[in-house]
């Protein structure tokens, strides 16, 4: 099991977001999370990655608790958040290099060139990221995927703002990754079709239930 989420219970800001949430991701599997805005897709990714901690429940990556993973072991997943972390006044290639250093994969210029070439970004590699359009920015952060050697990919809204051509290209990367034994968890607020993938639809928790929890929270804690 690559990724395992067992009965996670999480609230924040008096708002219950996950109640007894379960998810299992196997090797060579693509899973798509579908849900409307504010349902907690980004929160789920942050829980998996270990930025947030659930009040109850267990999250495991490769059968290891995420809270107990330290720097080196954490490098076995690649997470592309919604806020891409690209610096406006650095060029594309500098941004990618920075990311490459931080994520500690080996610096390989040929690989870097090919990854940028895949989305036709190598021609404009010395352009500042601040001058790019929203879709081009997304492409820059997606090209990190080709650079990474990790088996588990966590992608937050990868298809946002892309044109149809690059959506197809992205899907091709994902399928290749699946064929090589990798697994992908991606979120989307619209329906996307990828070959042989599973879909999970996140529903809004019922109003009444949420209210109960909120009351319990504030009273018990007082």
């Amino acid at each position: 099991m690559v990724l395992e989420i067992i009965s996670v219970f999480f609230y924040r800001n008096k708002r219950l977001i996950f109640d007894n949430f379960n998810l299992k991701l196997k090797n060579s599997q693509i899973m798509i999370l579908i849900g409307s805005n504010g349902i907690g897709k980004t929160t789920l990714f942050e829980l998996i990655v270990g930025i947030l901690e659930p009040q109850k429940g267990i999250i495991k990556i490769n059968n290891q608790l995420i809270q107990k993973m330290f720097e080196k072991k954490r490098k076995n997943f690649t997470y592309l958040p919604h806020k891409d972390g690209l610096k406006d006044n650095l060029t594309i290639i500098e941004n990618i290099e920075n990311w490459n250093y931080l994520s500690a994969s080996k610096y390989d210029f040929v690989k870097l060139k090919s990854s940028l070439d895949y989305f036709d970004l190598f021609k404009i590699k010395d352009e500042n990221v601040g001058n790019l359009s929203q879709g081009q920015r997304k492409k820059v952060s997606l090209s990190k995927l080709i650079l990474s050697n990790n088996l588990l990919w966590l992608l937050d809204e990868p298809f946002n703002g892309l044109d149809s051509d690059s959506i197809i290209k992205t899907k091709r990367i994902l399928e290749n990754h699946r064929k090589n034994g990798g697994s992908v968890l991606l979120s989307s607020h619209i329906d996307v079709k990828i070959k042989s993938s599973r879909k999970i639809v996140l529903n809004k928790l019922r109003q009444k239930r949420r209210r109960d929890i909120c009351e319990i929270n504030s009273w018990e804690e007082l």
């Binding site: 958040p81 610096k87 250093y101």
Partner: protein
Amino acid sequence: MRIDGFFNLIKREMRICLKNSFVMISFSSFFLISILIFVFAFGSGSIDGDKLYKPIVWVLLIFSLMLISENFTNNDYADGSLKEMQFLGYSEEVIILSKGIAMWFMIMLPTFFLIPISSILFNVTFTNSVILFLNICLACPSLILISLVSSLFSIQLKNNKIIQFIIIFPFYMPIIIFTTSTTNNDIDGYIFDDNNFLILIGIFFITLPISLLTSKLIMKEINR
């Protein structure tokens, strides 16, 4: 914590710093222009340079530290790279430490040129300016750490400047007291016998663990 991860972080910060050279330029021009304003305000005739010079430089340095620290934390928070560094597994202390080192570099490099120029403008003796420079060297690390922590405190607020100043002020005060008292004692020529230099180093070793710990707590709180 592997050591090359730390160097990678420093490399990243330095690269961003050098690319953001306008920050350095704006810092130095702010410094010089304010010094010039003080010179004009005192009038060209009689400036009691030795006495007024040090407090003025310290006031300017503190304000510019506050302004610059925003560039290191708030920008990273805004574009999500603070989070990115955290989930890549770098511990919060190391992130803050690397930022502090980059910021120290960014402050000290212009100061190396600014202090002599401004001391000429103020008619300050050579030894005095050397002592001031040494003081800045020793006191800056702790000031930088404190200002980084305070900018982390106010990262999620809209009108954060005032709050940052009020939070920062009580913790700046002891350092300022000791630095100014060093520079006042140098009349006899006993520069390096002074205990205050040692006290400044001691203060740095107190602030280092405390600020790293608090920054860890705060950065966990920011995401919550």
